[in-house]
Amino acid sequence: MAFYEQQQRILSPAKAGYMALTLVLALLFNLLPWRNVVGLPDMVALVLTFWCVHQPRKIGIGIAWFVGLVMDAGNGALLGQHAFAYAFLAFAAVSLHRRILWFSAWRQAAHVLVLLLASQLLMLAVRLVAGAAFPGLTYFAGSFVAAALWPTASFLLLLPQRRPAGMDENRSI
């Protein structure tokens, strides 16, 4: 097995504005009026994990916590529940980012699945302590769907960085 399973490309630096835009779009997806869809992926968690893995110096636990707070207010959930889970998710992703990037997309997805499930478990624990009823095992289906979306999501989210910096006719890439 090669050290790098995938071909490495030199990427142009990520723009903060683009990262913010993807996060807002993910929030928009999460706030769409879904009607009892089983296995709805938590896009905000997925995008947060992606940026924490790829740009750990630009995004981190603080931003994840705040985005979680917006999720709580928008969803009418217990205030601080998503903030707690996302802060943990960002911490785990930042700590593991060097390891995760060594693997191919599907193996990265396996890592991400564990992280997402752990953050969901945290939320479940918090809500059970607060006195809610167990929502059933389908609650965890969303994480599996989100992890399955990881290769596609990372391809799409990296697209702007794959663009050549200058439009030059003589460039080879």
């Binding site: 009026p33 879904w34 707070l69 928008g74 969803n75 205030l79 601080g80 809500r127 809610a132 929502p135």
Partner: protein, 303 residues
């Protein structure tokens, strides 16, 4: 000599320290929100941030609904029309007698010197979507504080009680269904007037008539209606039907499971009832306070 790394290496506090800080902050918020309800003002502020996103997220659904309505087939419209006509015929009989009954009822109430219940103003609202929080049973309706919706109002559909408004946003509000685990509704057995409190059963979509004595006169298929003594729900609205009763000699309470009458999971249109205005003021506690006063004085002296 002190060794200082160059400034471009500095990355702020360690991730673990940051996690600790933000986790503590989150736990503090959760405790404030769950136990003391102090976090509502902060929620309103953050909700303002989420509000444009919520509006934007609703736009495609509205567009989809409008397009769907436009392409409704003539057949389904015709069928619905026939159904409604049949329903109206059935209702006409009741309607003809209702005026007489109302007059008679008013007279009887006056005779009983009962407080006359005014018909409450109500707002028609549409359920937009089910709340995304999988731990509670809530729905979001399309009317908010700008349309006069207030927290605590009762929500009904054409056959019974659906729930209660628990949180109000400017253009949306959140309704907790009667089947939510945290929701309680004061009820009365229609057959014999036995009062009880019904508890939501959570994900099962049923209700539990908890803390009813094992020998209480409740039978299967009994209809439970709101008792109205809480001042929130008008009296006599159907809430649930008793589906199963387990009486175990080992326990002093019977385990009574009920099925909600209203389509808590099906309907789109609901009616939000405004709070009853003519509730008598809560009794002042002057008598009890007078009784306790000497004791308090004594306690103060001891201090």
């Amino acid at each position: 000599m002190d060794y200082q790394p160059p400034p471009f290496f500095s990355r702020g506090p360690a991730p673990l320290v940051r996690l600790g800080f933000f986790a503590c902050l989150a736990i503090l918020l959760m405790v404030l929100d769950a136990r003391f309800r102090y976090a509502e003002s902060l929620r309103q502020v953050v909700a303002l941030l989420a509000y444009p996103l919520q509006r934007a997220a609703l736009a495609p659904a509205e567009l989809f609904g409008a397009a769907g309505g436009f392409f409704t087939t003539q057949v389904s419209l015709k069928q619905e029309n026939e159904q409604l006509k049949a329903k109206q015929l059935l209702a006409a009989n009741d309607l003809l007698t209702v005026d007489a009954l109302r007059a008679e009822n008013a007279q009887l109430r006056r005779l009983l010197e009962a407080r006359e219940r005014l018909p409450r103003p109500s707002t028609l609202a549409e359920i937009l979507y089910r709340g995304r929080d999988p731990f509670s049973r809530k729905v979001i309706i399309d009317k908010g504080s700008r349309q006069g919706i207030r927290s605590g109002q009762a929500v009904i559909d054409d056959i019974g009680v659906v729930g209660q408004v628990t949180r109000v946003y400017p253009l949306l509000s959140e309704v907790t269904l009667i089947t939510d685990k945290e929701q309680r509704t004061p009820v009365q057995v229609l057959r014999n007037g036995l009062r009880a409190v019904i508890y939501g059963g959570g994900e099962r979509g049923t209700l539990d008539l908890s803390y009813t004595a094992a020998n209480a006169d409740v039978l299967a298929d009994d209809v439970l209606v709101t008792s109205g003594i809480d001042g929130t729900y008008p009296a006599g609205l159907p809430v649930a039907k008793v589906s199963r009763i387990e009486r175990d000699a080992a326990y002093s309470f019977a385990k009574i499971t009920c099925v909600p009458t209203a389509g808590t999971d099906q309907n789109r249109q609901v009616l939000v009832l405004s709070q009853e205005m003519n509730i008598p003021p809560a009794p002042t506690e002057t008598e009890s306070v007078a009784g306790k006063l000497p004791k308090q004085k004594r306690a103060k002296k001891r201090e």
